[in-house]
Symmetry: C2
Subunit: 362 residues, 2 copies
């Protein structure tokens, strides 16, 4: 099989393409980027290394360069400096030079760490994303955000470093746990809500096909998501303006993750619930109608995502977490809210309103 | 006193100015950058904190924002991830947001670590360089190279992150140890050799004034050095082309530092000797005349810098170190060589020639 769609991402600092298709090992290997690399560093985790060993084997079948393989432990818990250093140490031990190529083969955690390793190795080398989860395909692999966690905050240490290419391979999604599929769908719902009413309506009608891993359905949502994200990132590479819209549902979502303890809810689950809360906040501000909030809640619930704030997350703790979010500046609470289904904007909101919305969502 | 010269640095990613003058505390404090910052993080080392406490006190005299002070241990030995993490941890503990401003107050080590901390905090915040050594004023503070050392290599982990402003204060140089003054002069000689014959000739005539810390002499060499470096960096921000010329003397220099053990020779001392070796290599290639090499050696020696390869650095070890330099790609030895005094170019050189030049410089 080969690449079915190529979506360009046009930025000030660089331009690259997101390749969509199925069983892309051979396409990746024959790419110019791969051919031109002096060394290739494969970064993945211990689970994926086993699960996708045939894919990986095929990837390096006819490779003539030195290949450095770095396998990280599986999980957000390992998105640390120690994992970053493991990659850098392996690259230095193998004497990788500035023309090497880092391949991030995995979900958001692998992509973020490997991307940050590439951003900071000899002040920046090339990297390619091969996202293996729906969440990474529709969101984290595009846009150049890389990071590791710090004991005092998630994703606090990182860089903007754009990939040289992204390969979104539908075949890799077939083994995804159902819970992770749903978590990825949360970001697709987000893209529909903030920029594409048609995508949102499509989700309303076709959620069951998506939940059944229908390849055509998956391809559709990945394609539309990447197109939407590429357009927004192209307008605002380093998140000083319009890119903030991509945080729809994330102020509530990040707070839920932080208060429940990372790993309790998946990021996408927290975002799903956050989208419902952002909808309710928009309604409370008089921007959208209760029936629209109802529809958001239906779509989120149909993806098997949470729509209620759990008792384990006290309101006061959520509000405090939101005040510490790195998107907030100087103590103001800024939310992405909806002007309509398919249209978002950023607004400063009084703490009391956020409190009211949380309290009414239990 | 106030700013005497403003030298613009014009890059694709940003533009900023290098301010030259004396006793600039008040100018810095009243700058727009300072006024606009949500928090200010001062990064310095334990020696400078004591030595320049009046300067620092004046700097924050009428500041209304929160000031976070991070004091690192003094020395290249501390240019590590642990120091970087100390800065990040202090910033996170103080809840610094994306509008904060990092001040790097120190020499190259402080500037490199603080710059890298700013590059990677929340994917990049602003920083200002206040270089306190001649080396940092004429070289490392301009151009946006930031880095820390890795156990497997110096400056291997870092980023390109341009400062928002640089303040080169001549008053800060008056307390510089003589050995560090000489080390800084090595980079000035380099700038003359690679781009400005007049500067090189000026050094030939005025070395004693410079070594006596004459403020007018210091101002002249800092101004010309910054102008030369700004022009080159403006043409090649991320070192893919002409910026390589700034490595004149550095392939030999880095090898000397590595083989002698970091801390044995200062970076500038190794560069001084490296300039003589680069001159001899250029002569061996038939590009310059022996009398020109003679003049290079005279100027370097007059700055109290080494001009001979010491017995402690065996030729074979130096050659191996050069092959591992991150500027070299795929095992080729590339050197910056001189076409004339004031004009440099990059050339691939057989290992045997480099060996011959080293052997003849003992």
């Amino acid at each position: 099989m080969s690449v079915l769609y190529e979506i360009p991402v046009e930025l000030h600092s660089s331009r690259y393409r997101v390749m969509l298709g199925s069983e892309l090992s051979t396409s990746i290997q024959s790419s110019e980027l791969f051919q031109a690399a002096s060394q290739i560093i494969l970064v993945t985790n211990s689970t994926l290394e086993v699960l996708y060993s045939p894919f990986i084997e095929l990837l390096f079948k006819e490779v003539t360069q030195a290949v450095v393989r770095v396998t990280l432990a599986d999980g957000e818990h390992y998105k640390t400096w120690a994992s970053l250093d493991k990659i850098h140490s392996a690259m230095l031990a193998a004497k990788c030079d500035r023309n090497c190529l880092v391949l991030a083969f995995g979900g958001g955690v692998v992509g973020d760490i490997a991307g940050f390793a590439a951003a900071t190795y000899m002040r920046g080398v090339k990297f390619v994303q091969i996202p293996t989860t729906l969440l990474a395909q529709v969101d984290s692999s595009v846009g150049g955000k890389t990071a590791i966690n710090h004991p005092l905050g998630k994703n606090m240490i990182g860089a903007f470093h754009q990939p040289s290419a992204v390969y979104a391979d539908m075949a890799l999604l077939q083994t995804l746990p159902k819970r992770e599929l749903s978590a990825g769908i949360a970001e697709v719902i987000k893209h529909g809500l903030l920029a594409d009413r048609a995508l949102f309506d499509w989700l309303h009608l076709n959620m069951s096909a998506l939940l059944a891993f229908n390849p055509t359905a998956l391809l559709h949502v990945v394609k539309r998501s990447v197109e939407i994200k590429a357009k927004i990132v192209g307008e605002d590479e380093t998140e000083t303006g319009v890119r903030a819209l991509l945080n729809l549902g994330h102020t509530f979502g990040h707070a839920l993750e932080a208060v429940l303890g990372y790993g309790s809810w998946l990021h996408g689950e927290a975002v799903g619930c956050g989208l419902v809360l952002a909808g309710k906040l928009s309604q409370r501000l008089g921007m959208i109608h209760p029936t629209q909030v109802q529809k958001i809640e239906e779509v989120v619930a149909s993806a098997h995502l949470p729509v209620r704030v759990p008792a384990e997350a006290p309101t006061q703790a959520l509000l405090e977490a939101m005040l510490h979010d790195k998107k907030n500046q100087q103590g103001q609470l800024r939310f992405v809210v909806l002007e309509a289904l398919g249209k978002a904007t950023v607004q400063t909101v009084p703490l009391a309103l956020a409190k009211e919305v949380i309290d009414k969502s239990r």
